[in-house]
């Protein structure tokens, strides 16, 4: 069910400011693609164009095409709400709904479309929590608020919430940047398991992380502050980290800037 993403000629704006310029890339199903690059290079902005979350920001607007298999996300008559059900997202900081219990958090997306029996919901919640490697830790307190969990657990709860609606693609915007190393490791392991089922795109500041979890890596850069971010290259992770074809990539990876 995982789907392939084809981006061509994509520009993203904040008002009149061009944040990301002319990006084209292909993301294969059931792979992990990592976006790396210095701060402000537009990798998060670009990520948010993949499920039409960019336009939620005031002034946010997008030109170009994003094909999900054979459908353009920005085509006429496309409903952004449906797009976001197909392309799930996990955010930088864990954001479980504070007023909901753990159970309700996971079931939140499912309840939107309604028409699920309680037993069905129970099954999906359990499966999603298991899928997020969280079930054993929370199975005895499903009715407690999600905000009572640790940061790492909250983030896995958010992953469980995202995968519960069975999206085709899972976007992760620096999912570990607010977490400690142990929780980070747990999430990285989880990403490895999740790619069996989903197309995963992850933005990360941590190059080791990109090297550890991803199959493909895309390097973004910007000429100067105030200039739009651009895709420099995308290739197999191994290759990017051993023998990139562009000098800037090598400089960034070897820590010469950024």
């Amino acid at each position: 069910m995982a789907k392939r993403i084809d981006v061509s000629g994509l520009n993203a704006y904040y008002g009149s400011f061009l944040a990301v310029e002319d990006i084209s890339m292909t993301i294969q199903p059931r792979t992990v693609t990592a976006f790396i690059g210095p701060s402000g290079c537009g990798k998060s902005t670009f990520l948010r164009t993949l499920n039409r979350m960019h336009e939620v920001t005031p002034g946010g607007r997008v030109e170009g095409k994003v094909m999900l298999d054979d459908e353009n996300l920005y085509g006429a008559g496309i409903d952004p709400v449906s797009v976001r059900r197909e392309v799930g997202m996990v955010f930088q900081r864990p954001n479980p709904f504070p007023t909901m219990s753990i159970y309700d958090n996971v079931a939140a997306g499912l309840k939107l479309v309604g028409n699920k029996k309680k037993s069905e919901l129970d099954d999906i919640v359990e499966k999603s929590l298991k899928g997020a490697n969280l079930w054993n830790e929370v199975k005895d307190r499903l009715n407690k608020p999600g905000s009572g969990l640790s940061g790492g657990q909250q983030q896995r709860l958010c992953i469980a919430r995202a995968i519960a609606v069975e999206p085709k693609v899972l976007l992760m915007d620096e999912p570990c940047s607010a977490l400690d190393p142990i929780s980070t490791l747990a999430i990285e392991d989880l990403i490895g398991e999740l790619k069996e089922r989903f197309t995963i795109v992850i933005v990360t500041h941590n190059m080791q992380q990109a090297a550890r979890v991803s199959d493909r890596t895309a390097f973004f850069n910007l000429a100067a502050v105030g200039q739009p971010g651009k895709l420099i290259e995308i290739d197999d992770t191994e290759r990017i980290f051993s023998n990139p074809s562009v000098q800037a990539t090598e400089d960034y990876i070897s820590g010469r800037f950024g």
């Binding site: 069910m1 999900l68 459908e71 409903d79």
Partner: protein, 354 residues
């Protein structure tokens, strides 16, 4: 994987039936036209009626049309949107009318003469006279009240946010909440029972100011508390870590960061009490003459003036005109206070924030 069945049940397409953008406007226009039409045909007199009809029609039509074209979830979304719009529009009508009527009727007699003369020798039925005595009274009463309640209120808030942990803090928080709900007339009765009935003092501006203090205190405490809570803890810790004593941290770091919000809170509190009539009615009594001494004898105040002119007008136009003009003055006074407060708040706002 095993979820194939689940996913396949969902429509595979990302497309959804969409009504055009002008849809809501068209429904709105239609509803208003129909509302007006029905009113005219049925001979309904008041504008409240057609507005209500139009509002109901708008929400209903939106729901019916959307749910048939876009589906139930979208229909709910649209109905929520239209309800929100309708509630906004319905609320705007009376509030706009209030402002419009006050200005329209108030400007009739509002001039320099009106602001600089009292009602000393003017009978209610006559035109002429003014509100000088009332302005003076309001300024003195409100000023005294603010003088007492601002320091006490801000200090209490500091206690609650910066020091308060134990039972005392809990009790204070609880009773500030309780105090917020004290009706102004009850505050007036309290001062009446102590100051006037038990201590045997006569009516005076100061008695009114004490009642106004009771009303102002909790507002000051509450708003200051909220503002202090918004000051990030990192800021306090940074200052403490530099070896700055706690009280100086509060005075030099916490309060300046929150000062914009605190000022706004105080100004809003002042604005609230400046328009209070009930305690003034019980404790200051109102007067037609200039009395600059707030510590003895009845005094006028703007809201009290409005009430007296309204109540004693006996239907005479001159008194009504004066009531409206005084209302306009009072509103203008309060608005200027408000605008100034906001100006200060913006000017003093922490520079780093958005």
């Amino acid at each position: 994987m095993s979820n194939a069945t689940l996913s396949d049940k969902r429509p595979s397409s990302l497309r959804a039936a969409h009504l055009p953008k002008w849809f809501s406007w068209a429904v709105a226009a239609g509803s208003i036209a129909l509302g007006l039409g029905i009113s005219t045909v049925a001979g309904l007199e008041s504008s409240i009626q057609w507005a209500l009809i139009a509002g109901v029609l708008f929400v209903l039509a939106t729901f019916v049309i959307t749910s048939s074209v876009e589906g139930r979830r979208q229909a709910k979304d649209r109905v929520a949107t239209s309800l929100v719009w309708v509630s906004f529009l319905l609320a705007v009508i009376p509030l706009a009318s209030l402002v419009y009527e006050t200005v329209k009727r108030g400007v009739k007699v509002l001039d320099g003469y009106f602001l600089s003369h009292s009602m000393g020798v003017v009978a209610t039925s006559e035109s002429g006279g003014g509100i000088y005595h009332a302005i003076l009274g309001t300024l003195e009463q409100v000023g005294l009240a603010a003088l007492i309640s601002v320091p006490v209120g801000v200090l209490t808030a500091i206690y609650l946010v910066e020091y308060g942990r134990g039972k005392l803090a809990k009790a204070v928080t609880f009773f500030v909440d309780v105090m917020t709900g004290i009706p102004s007339i009850v505050a007036g009765l309290f001062i009446l029972s102590t100051w006037i009935l038990i201590l045997g003092m006569g009516p005076s501006g100061f008695a009114g100011a004490m009642a106004l203090t009771i009303l102002m205190l909790p507002v000051v405490v509450r708003s200051t508390e909220e503002m202090l809570k918004l000051v990030p803890n990192e800021l306090r810790e940074a200052s403490l870590a530099l070896g700055v004593p706690k009280w100086r941290t509060i005075l030099k770091v916490v309060l300046p960061t929150a000062i914009g919000g605190i000022t706004t809170g105080v100004m809003l509190a002042v604005a609230r009490i400046a328009g209070e009539t009930a305690p003034v009615l019980l404790l200051v009594w109102g007067s037609n003459f200039i009395n600059a001494n707030p510590f003895s004898d009845p005094q006028a105040s703007l809201p009290m003036y409005i009430y007296l002119q309204f109540q004693q007008s006996g239907g005479y136009g001159a008194a009504y005109d004066r009531a409206w003009a005084a209302s306009l003055t009072l509103i203008a006074f309060i608005m200027i206070l408000n605008l100034a407060a906001r100006g200060i708040a913006r000017w003093k706002a922490p520079k780093s924030g958005r």
